[in-house]
């Protein structure tokens, strides 16, 4: 059994939440004031998840780079691997916002998508 303390970042309240783990399994959560905070704390102590935003090279647009985003959170521990994949990717204009560039990004449930539209020139 171990206790992990964290401060919730979902809203300005900044609740101090204590998560009790037993061999990596969450068995108790204390100190949260909303469901969102509870879920956050559970996930954060087991495997933190983050949205990744970056840019990829784009050909045929006014700009050299296109901003991209994961359609949902991916594990924080996969960021390095994720950046490798982002660096390798080149796309061609035109691109629509939310257009999927890499489906099931690194085998997760998230897609890597364009986070804006870019016209072809």
């Amino acid at each position: 059994m171990e206790n992990k303390e964290l401060i919730c970042v979902n809203c300005p309240m900044g609740c101090r939440i204590t998560v009790t783990l037993d061999e990596g399994r969450v068995i108790d959560i204390k100190g949260y004031t909303c469901e969102k905070g509870k879920n956050y704390a559970a996930q954060e102590t087991v495997r933190p998840m983050r949205v990744l935003t970056s840019t990829v090279r784009i050909n045929g647009a006014l700009a050299r780079v296109l901003p991209v985003i994961t359609s949902q959170e991916i594990p924080l521990d996969m960021m390095e691997e994720a950046m490798e994949a982002v660096r390798m990717l080149t796309v061609d204009a035109p691109v629509r916002v939310n257009q999927v560039l890499i489906p099931h990004f690194l085998g997760t449930d998230a897609d890597l998508v364009a986070s804006r539209s870019m016209k072809k020139i």
Partner: protein, 474 residues
Amino acid sequence: MYDVVIIGAGITGTMLARDLSRYKLKVALIDKENDIADGATMANSAIVHTGYDPEDGTLKALLNPEGARIYDTLLDDLGCRYRTAGAYIAACGPEEEAHLDVLADRADRRGIPYEWLTGDEARRNEPNLNDQVTKVLNFYTTKIIYPWEVAIACAEVAVGNGVELYLNSPCTGIDKTESGYTVHTPEHDFETKLIVNAAGVCADQINAMVGKPRFEMRPKKGEYFVIDNNVHYVDHIIFPVPSAKGKGVLAVPTVYGNTLIGPNSDYIASTTDTGSSFQGLDYVRTNIVRIMKNAPLNRSIRNFAGLRPSSSVSDFIIEEAADAPGFVNAASIESPGLASAPAVSKYIIENILRDKLEWTENPDAVMTRERPVVMAELSEEERAEMIRKNPLYGRIICRCEQISEGEIVDCIRRPCGAHTVKGVKKRVRPGMGRCQGGFCEPRVLAILARELNISPLDVVLDSKASRILCQENR
């Protein structure tokens, strides 16, 4: 074989280069930096003093009033911006008032106009003048200028008339030859009859390459605040009564509506230490209150430090070195060096170089420069016409100072044109405003890369090694 190699492209060197370019002479102007006017000319109070301050019998007393008189027509000839702002010397109490009498006496003998104001009269014109000020001497013909603009204009004229400009050319050694000297720089050697040493804070080092200098440079650092041009603080230049330490902490309006507050002066630095310091800025902060109130230092958009090329000799040193014939020092050109520069140049030609060269006027020489297009200075009709001819004049790059892409492109393409971000800033002023380039610098960088046909990675801020971007990302 060159007739003259001028070492140092500051206000002294460029002014001389321009004057020499009137004649059929082979002249090289060399500088160690990546642009003209990167030393003391870039960082000073930007005032054309009228010449009341120097002690009698000095070169300063001879050349300052004459230099100021030459500027009366020179600034228009060179298409440079200036304003005759007038300088208030503000005395607090009888002791300082007595010193004003000394200045007025000198001014009388040197033919410099002035007027007396009571403290209250002065405060009516300058409400931020401190209540302790009892009497003011107004040297109303004192001008403010953009010093580097004048140096750049002189260099443009000189280069237009055939003077060769070599930047990034530090003088690494000088050899005596039969007919003169060889000046070594990393990329070129210059065989020359004569050398003029206008190397600012490095003048003693250059002199030491040919002989034993009779002076030692002791650069004095001056630190300033620059106040946002939406704060209207002073109309006139406002000085305390000068003391042994120098002209004191001043409030100076600039030609584009900012205010300089500074400098400190009691600090002696190395020739490369142009950094500002907490102590220096604190000195300015605590001493401006001697003559001023409501100093808007919280509206500072920038602080900077400059090195005054002062030396162990209290006067200008303008002479042929005793142990090196044909090597001419124009050294220790500290304040009022900017105001004196046109007369310094004339003095060098008339009194030192006159007998050493053949002086044939070049009939094709053009001694004037047309002012570059400044959209903000044009009438509505003129602006419309400019944009019709070139739409880039309608694309504003610097939002603080409202400078168009057309003006930026012009300053890159001109002779002695800008090839650095700071070079563009010096010539047409994007980045001089309250955002200090936060908004426009990436745009200026892109324009430089395009116009110079180089990678954005190779665009520099100022010196050759001052890259702005580190690598392509993707």
